[in-house]
Symmetry: none
Subunit: 424 residues, 2 copies
């Protein structure tokens, strides 16, 4: 562990996010709020030291708030501010700070204004939303009925925000972030991410470590997902320029070592980068999918502007579709089977011929969990690529899980397309 | 608060989920693992009391583990078991339990087997993955290189799982859940979920509340997502049979009130249910997608056995593909445009005619963010359905977000297909 951890260098300001709600702890709602808030803090040089998710329990939440005030500098709470019985944040703040609820005139006017604005009658329960713990500042919420609460408690700045994502985001952007900006001035952190495909996490790690380009001042993190691995570089410096310089220098060196696998930077996706290459080459794309079932086409068309290079796709699930739509020979199916390199090749060639595309990708395989045989087990997949008339195929040996096999197949198709288009 | 909170009744066994990784605290990865794990615990009557997300910091993680062992009965940790320097969970376990790392023969053999299986060379760093904290049981991970660790510590059962979602899920299902089942026997809780489509959350809520079928002993929760709303029924009882009886009784009454919207129960998906209906009717399906870009076909083929009813799909992105593959008339495109009810109708009819399917679904629209005009703004979508020769179309007015529009379009196609197939 050669590199300094971020926590050693930029945690002058310790941040905690507390998200409240049984829908979160039970897993029925995925906690996207916490991720969004953390990313919103990043430009300030803040990375949360921890994210805590709790059920709607007054006592537990109050205990955690008391503890956070002692250990953290910035405390962001979301959720539990609504009008129903399971909204417990205000009660927990009252308990934690040994205070009481008082009706806030400004907040009450705000709630009334909100209901007039949406032209709906106001329920009595909404009036209680104007009750706030004494000693807290009320930040007006123009986007809903729950007020945003704010308190300087010892060395900690505490914000309690509504859990409705839209309201939380608006309040973060317009109210919380500007206040935090005044408070923190770490500022001197720089980050970049190199996004790779076609190499595993361990192999990438080994390549990088053995290259000697690693720099003590730049922290590297490896983040794998579905056939791609991100290398995230972070550096802190005495000035913002120094931090950026350190990151850029290591990124350049890394590019020499693993550049062949790097398809993009930061937020760029493989789908977008591949699309841009196809546009710049003036090339048209088509797809002929069997086992990936349309997932490849769906990923390609997830990019705005895909109509500029994607002509069409065929999801040729039945043999008849392979023959009629893609001109696969019946004799090939009879002799080698639908799941074969020969069929994959003819599908890729066929979709180019019938669509007029310059590049065609194909897939055929046993996605599972049924349909496997001893010769052709579940997870056996062939993908094909036809480029300007030349066809190649690739055999994949994936696992037993249907959805993962479909995902992996589409990822391999995409990665192959990217490599071929780039190298043309 | 009429219903007893679940937390009041079943927290004899206190559970905590600890997820580890800077990619989670920083918000660069959304914490779907925690949600998945919590849902997987639900059938055991366990709801996590808290979810804690931490960066890769040995000292902090060790402290939290020591604390959790005192306060919780079940501790599930994911992440930080990989081969790179930012994988700190084993070091934290060593520190928390004042033990040391020892190389585990079984685990080493497992890692070697894994690399032989995928036919890739094994990096030296992977050997270290067989080092485990002394005193822990090693649960073999057949799906990756990081072993799963298990320890009974005082009254707590602690499991450390890899953070790769696929590996974590497989290990949870095959190893962790079965062990936990033996340990907990809360038993006296019953749950069922009615899954609906084609009605909004508020309308559904109003229908149910006004029907008077609500029962004080059965708690209802409304869980909306992408055009579907789940109604979850939970009851606790003095015996397991009593709890099940209470839930069944309310579910039956609800079925009379909102049954027309209910497509399935519990884990059933709309894709699966629709597939089963098509199989039972002996009907064949085909799709002709423009703006949904293959997502509908991809969702249909996500179901094992889809090849029994899904013949083929065409992703007709270009006008040429619409004409050549689907027999849409050039005059229709000229007169009404590609985004029109007329084109959607011809696409649906065309894919039935060219594939021989009994039912064909189509989509054409402005997915955005580019391509909108005053007459045809972003979010305007037409979908078509051809069944046994008769065609209908539907106009959707969606929002500005491309991926959401594609998702919503495919959901509406699927919901329509289900309704039509069910009522045949």
């Amino acid at each position: 562990m050669k590199n300094p951890k971020i926590s050693d260098t930029v945690d002058a300001v310790k941040t905690i996010i507390i998200t409240v709600g049984a829908e979160l702890t039970s897993g029925h709602t995925i906690n996207t709020n916490a991720a969004w808030m953390a990313k919103a803090l990043e430009p300030l040089g803040l990375t949360p030291e921890r994210v805590l998710t709790l059920r709607d329990d007054v006592a537990v939440l109050a205990r955690e708030i008391r503890s956070a005030v002692k250990t953290h500098d910035i405390i962001l709470i979301t959720g539990g501010l609504g009008p129903t019985h399971d909204d417990v944040t205000k009660a927990a703040l009252v308990k934690a700070f040994k205070t009481r609820l008082v009706r806030d005139g400004g907040a009450l006017a705000g709630v009334r204004r909100f209901f007039r604005g949406i032209d709906r009658p106001m329920a009595p329960v909404n009036e209680e939303q104007a009750d706030v713990p004494e000693g807290f500042d009320v930040i007006r919420n123009r986007y809903g009925t729950a007020p945003c609460l704010y308190k300087e408690a010892g060395k900690a700045s505490l914000f309690a925000l509504p859990g409705v994502p839209f309201e939380m985001k608006k309040l973060m952007k317009t109210e919380v972030i500007p206040r935090l900006k005044k408070r923190v001035s770490t500022g001197f952190m720089a980050r970049t991410t190199l996004r790779t495909v076609g190499i595993g996490e361990s192999a990438l790690y080994t390549l990088v470590e053995e290259s000697g380009v690693v720099d003590d001042n730049v922290e590297l993190a490896y983040l794998p997902y579905f056939g791609q691995v991100d290398i995230r570089l972070s550096a802190t410096g005495e000035t913002s320029a120094a931090a950026r310089r350190a990151v850029r220098s290591v990124a350049r060196k890394l590019d020499r070592v693993v550049g062949q696998y790097v398809f993009g930077r930061d937020e760029q996706t493989l789908e977008e980068v591949t699309g841009e290459i196809l546009v710049s080459r003036g090339m048209k794309l088509a797809s002929a999918e069997s086992c990936s079932g349309g997932l490849f086409a769906s990923r390609i068309t997830s990019v705005s502007g895909a109509s500029g290079y994607f002509l069409e796709g065929v999801v040729a699930y039945s043999n008849q579709a392979k023959v009629k739509r893609l001109k696969v020979k019946q004799s090939t199916l009879d002799r080698y089977g639908a799941v074969s390199a020969q069929t994959a090749a003819q599908m890729a060639r066929g979709v180019c011929a019938t669509s007029g595309a310059d590049i065609g990708l194909s897939s055929t395989g046993v996605a599972g969990p049924g349909g496997g045989t001893k010769e052709k087990p579940v997870g056996l997949v062939y993908i094909g690529l036809c480029c300007n008339g030349a066809v190649e195929t690739m055999e994949l040996n994936l696992g037993m899980d249907r959805n993962r096999n479909q995902q992996r197949t589409s990822s391999e198709m995409l990665a192959w397309l990217w490599r071929v288009a780039r190298d043309l």
